[in-house]
Symmetry: C2
Subunit: 107 residues, 2 copies
DNA sequence: TATATAGTTAGATAACTATCTAAATATCTA
DNA sequence: TAGATATTTAGATAGTTATCTAACTATATA
């Protein structure tokens, strides 16, 4: 379930660019918006996708909402990709909670 | 452009399961199909997505088409995720070919 | 308290994706 | 070459996602 959100979040170029910016420094939605041509609601939608995937954390600071990258989830994601590659029987993140698809029980 | 395909390919649970199976051993579309409840055309569609992302390679062997996982692309993908995390200015895979979205030139 | 600023939520729409059945292509074997 | 098997392609449909404008909520400040 988490994988689902994480990879989907990463599967969008705008969201990857947001992560790049946040990796340089935590900043507000407005600061981020200045770098993109999409509307603020669209950006908010992207930030929400990243938040759902737990790839970023949000924290209000006065009028602003400051977004911060969550590196540990990115680490987990990279690890998961490597585990996939190594044919590990039970990659960490593909838990029994991930019931949103039908698959072979031996996986 | 490649990122686009790679993350989108990974953003589907069936496709991730296909990769897990192929990590254990290369096998035909039919062998893979036995593990899933979706129709063969659907599976073919998923295999094509993986192929486009260069995450798998296909090779006909008589009547069968044998699919093989491409571990180097998975390595690159994991590396890209880590580079994102480290705020590297120019992660390998986000090349100038990736023109499918509008973004800040400083990225 | 009224106004301005920052950001999100709602609702509509266009584009994309997963899925299916049916039909086509490729290969093998009798 | 005819029939069987493996897989893909075509075409239709349902569900999901990205985007926009308009409206709403929250905070700050005069």
């Amino acid at each position: 379930m988490q994988n689902q959100h994480r990879f989907k979040a990463l599967a969008d170029p705008t969201r990857r660019d947001i992560l790049k910016l946040l990796a340089q420094r935590s900043q507000s939605a407005g600061d981020l918006a200045a770098h993109f041509e999409v509307s603020k609601p669209s950006l908010s939608h992207h930030l929400n996708a990243l938040k759902q995937a737990d790839l970023v954390r949000a924290q209000r600071q006065g009028q602003n909402i400051i977004y911060t990258i969550n590196t540990s989830v990115l680490e987990d994601t990279a690890r998961f990709v490597l585990d996939l590659m190594n044919g590990d029987e039970n990659p960490q993140m593909e838990t029994s909670h991930d019931k949103d698809h039908k698959f072979d029980p031996t996986l």
